[in-house]
Symmetry: C2
Subunit: 283 residues, 2 copies
């Protein structure tokens, strides 16, 4: 077993367990995940999995503690996996200087620029390495969907659109929808990628949606009182416009009146998102 | 308006607002509360209120962020009020030395021992002062119930049993049920009360239940994997035994298999507790 069990709590009839392991994608650094197994999986049956990607500054813990997902995941008998948002302790100069770049801000891409490229490979980590680790658990990784918040919403949308065979559906709370056109995305792409914004286009959900062939299954909720929305960091309208132009009827973008960027917003619609994915995972 | 608004977040269709104010019970120290108003109250209608008392080390924030109460409170159209667990900054020697006495550990009593008696009056604060502050909000304090966790479960049970006219029902997660017989309770009563344990009997839920005349409405959930339960800090069996001896059929004590003392446990049964109180508050 390459997963080291760190702690476990019973919740909602299932179990939340924290594991750590050495990640080859992340330059052999130790990383941690939280895994919720619903009751049937605790009893040994394999269940579908829903990956949750967190936003800037978060670890594997924030959404597990504040997201309010477990009662709904138990009702749907779906496992939830919460990875960290970046490598930790990569010892790159400047890694801990800002909240929106470096530690806690991996942006779910593979860095190509030195010195970030050695460890900052959250794309490979989530898409390739993490599912292989879950083979040790009663999880059927062939039935997988993905969701997330803010930077993690960007991650969920882009990983899904780039790997349609691997994920059945994607959803997001307050996602960064068009990172090549917003300050957070520009800073990340110019910092992590050798060819900057141009190279970043492959990690831009709005641009990826333009090129999508098959009807995608996507749900997005974003709050109108979200300061980052008001600052133009999220740009859900750009994503929605492409979905309409392409006639993608299974892409829903909902602007939720008066909600902000917090976990209070996420917990309000948590059950909605689990139910959305359950339709795809149980189809 | 004597309440100072510090922040507000929309959640579950209602609003969570943090207020601060100067408390006369707490020696004119500033204290903070979180108040959840469901949608009908946000629109101005008066709604019933459910007070939530937190456990050792917590502030007004922990249960608001991790308890998972708001979707159920919105469904029931009940306001939730989260006070702090002690005065803050009373400048009593030793106040911040231990997690289970002083700051974060007011034990919902009125201290009679110097120097604690000046500010450590959480009983008066919750029972008398707090409802008068809520008069400024669309809350009908004549329809009130009370619940809490651990030390706050002790608070909910004792405040209810001592003030049956004021609260319609009480419930608790992992409460300290018999504090005169456990280490936490003994330390608190001997530290805060001039006549120690003897004086503490008036704040012991199991002893108060022995003297109860009318049928109480009480729900208790406690986990069997709770380390504090195993250490004999909680003693739900003692409370249950008295309820059975007295023939109190509306006192339910449920030992929940495999659950611990954490917010994961609370969030699992949060909806159950809100629904329990809604029956009394809407009767």
């Amino acid at each position: 077993m390459s997963l080291n069990k760190k702690s476990a709590n019973k919740v909602s009839g299932g179990t939340l367990t924290k594991y750590s392991f050495t990640s080859s994608s992340l330059n052999s650094l130790e990383t941690a995940i939280n895994v919720f197994l619903p009751s049937s999986a605790v009893s040994g049956s394999k269940v579908p999995v829903l990956y949750y990607l967190s936003g800037l500054t978060c670890t594997e813990d924030n959404a597990a503690q504040k997201g309010g997902f477990f009662n709904a995941a138990e009702a749907a008998q779906i496992a939830l996996v919460f990875p960290d948002t970046s490598p930790r302790g990569a010892k790159v100069d400047g890694e801990d200087e800002s909240y929106d770049f470096g530690s806690g801000a991996g942006f779910y891409l593979n860095a190509t620029k030195q010195p970030w490229s050695a460890a900052y490979n959250m794309y490979d980590y989530i898409v390739k390495e993490l599912p292989s680790k879950l083979g040790e658990l009663p999880i059927d990784t062939s039935k997988a969907s993905i969701f997330g918040h803010s930077m993690g919403g960007h991650g969920a949308l882009t990983l899904y659109l780039k790997n349609r065979g691997q994920y059945k559906s994607a959803s997001a709370f307050s996602p960064i929808c068009n990172p090549t056109a917003c300050p957070w995305g520009k800073k990340a792409f110019e910092g992590y990628l050798e060819n900057g914004l141009k190279e970043g286009e492959q990690y831009d959900a709005t641009l990826l949606l333009k090129d999508a062939q098959d009807q995608p299954g996507i749900l997005i909720d974003s709050g109108t009182a979200d300061d980052f929305y008001k600052q133009g960091q999220l740009l859900p309208e750009n994503f929605q416009k492409v979905a309409e132009e392409k006639g993608f009827k299974n892409v829903q973008v909902r602007l939720q009146d008066g909600y902000d960027h917090s976990y209070f917003f996420i917990s309000t619609f948590a059950e909605d998102h689990i139910k959305f994915h359950a339709k795809f995972l149980k189809a």
